[in-house]
Symmetry: D2
Subunit: 363 residues, 4 copies
């Protein structure tokens, strides 16, 4: 990952600011002859789109994606397919309210990237967070939708597994439930609880953190490029690059620190389809290479930094002041991180699938 | 990070297996005119070297590093300095016992990379873990020693902060203590406790996990390359690439999931040296860019997979069997991960320092 | 250079097909605080734009570039400047005539990339050459316009120095003349001759090759990253990546094969501004690093492959047939390669300037 | 190509100076299960080795290569094969005469990289050219020997086709002749002539340039990654990175500037094995992708800059002086560039083979 590009064989480059003309993305290295229409991408974008419940920012964006290049109607079938050349994607920013930025133009919002962008570049785009806005993640989701088509046998799904101190009950995990509540929560009871809990937080203008889990099933054994392109290393980098993420773990994760060697080692038996593991503390990755088990990644998302309680800060001149961030914001930005985390997982797996095929052949 | 190279401007490429002729490394992109002798590197290597206490593997390696290229006596001062060309490093493997590998040659050790290397490459170097051995980390430490010299104003230190379920008392944190016990533990009392605790684990042939914290002080504000080369993203990838690491977090980390926006936002005041933060939940990074505060990273290390209790597994033919890993091993491989984590932090910071200087100039 | 991205610190990613919705480009790694407006880019684009004389394709494209991101009005001066984040550029394709492609849809045009795209990807965009169209070079010119602003003290100029077998008279070289004729030719007399010569070729539906020379003045000594990122190596790769280029040379170039060591070695004296070279057979580059002299690169462009004389070919089914390429084409595609060559030179120099500043600091 | 690494999937990193302890190389990304012994590499190194005739430098180096990692005896066959992990190679420098460098330590040798390395890095390794020595090319040849095994169906051969103004007679081209004379010359009569011609140059302490041609047969159609990873673009960069090379061309090359569209377009017919081209002006590459025809590249090598005639120069203090380079040197350094050019061709093709297989699959 380098500047605004990630991936090696399946390469994604994004551009665009929150309140500019448009945001966009170039997906390069995609194999040819894959069926791809804008609707395939739109479907995933719609899951991430804000304004769908009172628990996400009320910014209203159609987030209508256009494919600018890299596809054509197949000369024989007429179905639109990838050509192997770069796929350009564009989403125009439609909801650029002519807002009053005077409050935040010169003040650094605590927890935001205001201070650091200014420190790095000597200026910052204060309109809606500029480049550091969560809006950029729309293009990750778009790229992820294409990545899924590169590895059609892999199923990538995500869920919110913790909000504030409240964790879901894993015995009640139901993937179907995820689409039924506004939290992507797989535990029906907890989802009901979160509704009330988050309403309380929202009403007082506060925010709360969350933990997201992303699971990829159907990953073949052998993906990963040790030592410095390990599958888990790339996943950790990918998840940590999502806005507001502060921690990433694979399989047993931080819990592995408390395990003994006997407990942690996933034993093996022979099953109908080859080797079968009796547990998955490894989260589907050993030595940086996939085992064939589900790849399981969790990441922690900090609470939204935009809150209605005044916080002490300084302005560009160094003068001490206070700030209070009004406007359209998510009380739990972790919610919308679910489809983003899925997208990053899909992109990393597609990249490693192509890299593996390059080095080792097969398939 | 790609295959066996990491970094963009400060690039590290390693090679070598546990029981081959030698392990080595090429550090490319290092600025010229930096004083560098083998002893600068050896000092860090000696901190990682096994066999220094009964709590690390009894493998006896001198780990004597040779600088093969990239340095010369300065024509005027006579002091050995870097030339700006690639620095080749080599450590010969001296302790390659003519061991009997028949037990592990055909069986996959649970928790190790045996199964996955075989799945990926069609064969694996069964001698001492081959490429996936922790021995590779010696070259990371060597590269890290050079990285420290690229950013001399940054101080990188690491410590073991948890072993099994036992966390250190942060009020008792004493950096000087780290060098005084075999655990790199900054809490004197806990170190004494760990001595007894780990002895018990060692004697029954078991192992235990740990959590390591690495802190970089003196990092200037402005390092980091959003969106996909964020400082925290690169640190997460770097730490997760260390053998046996299963989780990485920055600042408040997973704890951030439980914080409210009010608690999490690090407020700012103006101090004598510019902006001063009143807390550091961010771990020194906002929006992927350093704030000027200490950069704080923690990572979880799983327990050593080589244990003396038999575990169920399969062999290369698919037959079910059991395995018990004899030999020289660490009861807590997390201990030696401390200097490795420091090295990865130093390498990432050196890389970002050069990248920042390239794009923005200054300094 | 990898897939559709080139450069390391100054990175350019392009996308788009000749007859798609739009072509675009992302310029990443650009330093912040550089004044940049669309008009700065448009100026260079207009020099490359087709349809300005009867000697270039009559395709009518406004080639109006839009800046989608990466710039903002400076908070103090109000002048639009770069922000350090990726600069997205877009040019909509306005002249997509609903042309009849039945003639070329299934036949491979000799000299074009039809056969090879089909061999690689299993299909090809037959509309106007798709991705392999010279249209893509518009984005190179756009990126080059930004690159020029990164290295404002460097002046990059190009000229056509040979058409068919006719070379210019170097004693008559006049840079001002380049803008006065439709050939970018610095020799006034030869330009007059080319007018007649090329008219003859154009009228019989034929085409002819050319040689272009690009000169960069004001390049500081020290740019270049040996061994595999040599300045001349990157320039050779960059020029050879331009459509229809078949050869690249630096300084004395292929002529160096005929020189003796005495003739070739550029002797040095001390001048008012440091070291002064008495000749420049090296073309401003020694050991892959700039000498401070003008960097001089020449490249050969093959004749346009689209001609009005029928050529033997095969179709997608393997059947033998003939083809004749009608339509809007350049009798000497080398002419429009002049601003493209300048752009590639500017991009490579900007990239190396940033890379050098990263590794060595200074400036 | 970046600093001291080239290639994307098949990655080569070299290190080492002419008069240091050793030179070395890491080949990363090589597929597993390829038979590889040191003797496979040594064979190619011996072709490049100096001191084999009076026409190359009399430096006596055994150039004995050691494989440090990345191979093992196959568990079933016992044959040494690659493991898919990085292959470390080392050649110790045995002929480091304790030479007197006082003459060149402070003076810049015209035509050499002395001035530019000093300008870039603030110092230079004056011993034997340091990093810019042709000695580095030994590691390219070593890497090339491995690359050949990655693409065993491709045959890469090189030849000297011009020395000074004298070109070979292409009608007399005999590949078998290349191994029979000290010039890698495929024209027996011209080889005899060169013997006398170069003796004259050698005796008067002068030197002369040359042109080398490298041909790859058996390259499948479809290799190449447009737009910025075109096969010809990568080949141009690779050849231009070889010491003393000043020009590169593909197929008709600079001659294409003088061709008409009718002459240049390689017509196609259907043959027994698919499409057959009636000529190869393209040099086996169209639109950056291989056509299936032989890939033909030529490059110009300047005359050795070390000559016995004094040349005007300056020293590090800026004082004007003269220099005359004594010692062991090649009168025509182009000769030894033949195996180096072959190696670069093999490396680029292996890299593109793996990249293509990654993106498009097949094979």
């Amino acid at each position: 990952m380098s500047f605004n590009t990630f991936g090696h064989m399946f390469r994604v480059t994004t551009f665009g600011e929150s309140h500019g003309v448009a945001i966009g993305c170039v997906v390069d290295g995609c194999p040819p002859l894959i069926e791809l229409g804008a609707e395939d991408i739109q479907r995933d974008l719609d899951r991430r789109r804000p304004g769908q419940s009172r628990f996400t920012t009320q910014r209203q964006e159609a987030d209508a994606v256009k494919i600018l290049s890299g596809v054509m109607a197949h000369p024989e079938t007429g179905v639109q397919v990838t050509t192997g050349t770069p796929i350009g994607l564009l989403i125009e920013n439609t909801d650029q309210r002519s807002k009053d930025y005077s409050e935040i133009k010169d003040k650094f919002r605590p927890g935001h990237a205001d201070f650091t962008y200014e420190a790095k570049y000597g200026l910052r785009d204060y309109r809606g967070g500029g480049r550091s806005s969560a809006r950029e993640t729309a293009m990750r989701v778009a790229a992820g939708a294409i990545a899924r088509k590169v590895v059609p046998d892999i199923r990538v799904r995500g869920a919110l597994v913790q909000m504030g101190p409240y964790k879901i009950d894993r015995d009640k995990w139901d993937w179907d439930e995820v689409a039924r509540n506004p939290f992507f929560c797989p535990d029906r009871d907890k989802a009901a609880f979160f509704e009330e809990y988050l309403d309380g937080i929202r009403k007082k203008g506060s925010s709360i953190g969350a933990v997201i889990e992303v699971v990829a099933e159907g990953v073949p054994a052998g993906l990963g490029a040790p030592i410095y392109g390990k599958l888990d290393s790339d996943l950790a980098g990918a998840m940590m690059s999502i806005n507001a993420v502060k921690g990433v773990e694979v399989g047993a994760g931080f819990g592995a620190a408390e395990l003994s060697g006997e407990e942690n080692a996933d034993e093996m038996r022979t099953g109908n389809n080859g080797t079968r593991f009796l547990s998955n503390h490894a989260g589907g990755i050993l030595g940086g290479i996939s085992t064939g088990q589900p790849v399981v990644v969790r990441f922690a998302v900090k609470p939204t930094s935009s809150i209605l309680t005044p916080r002490r800060t300084v302005d560009r001149s160094g003068a001490e002041t206070e700030i209070l961030t009004k406007g359209r914001h998510d009380p739990c930005v972790g919610i919308r991180a679910v489809p983003v985390g899925e997208a990053m997982m899909a992109c990393v797996l597609a990249d490693h699938f192509l890299r593996h095929r390059g080095q080792v052949g097969a398939r």
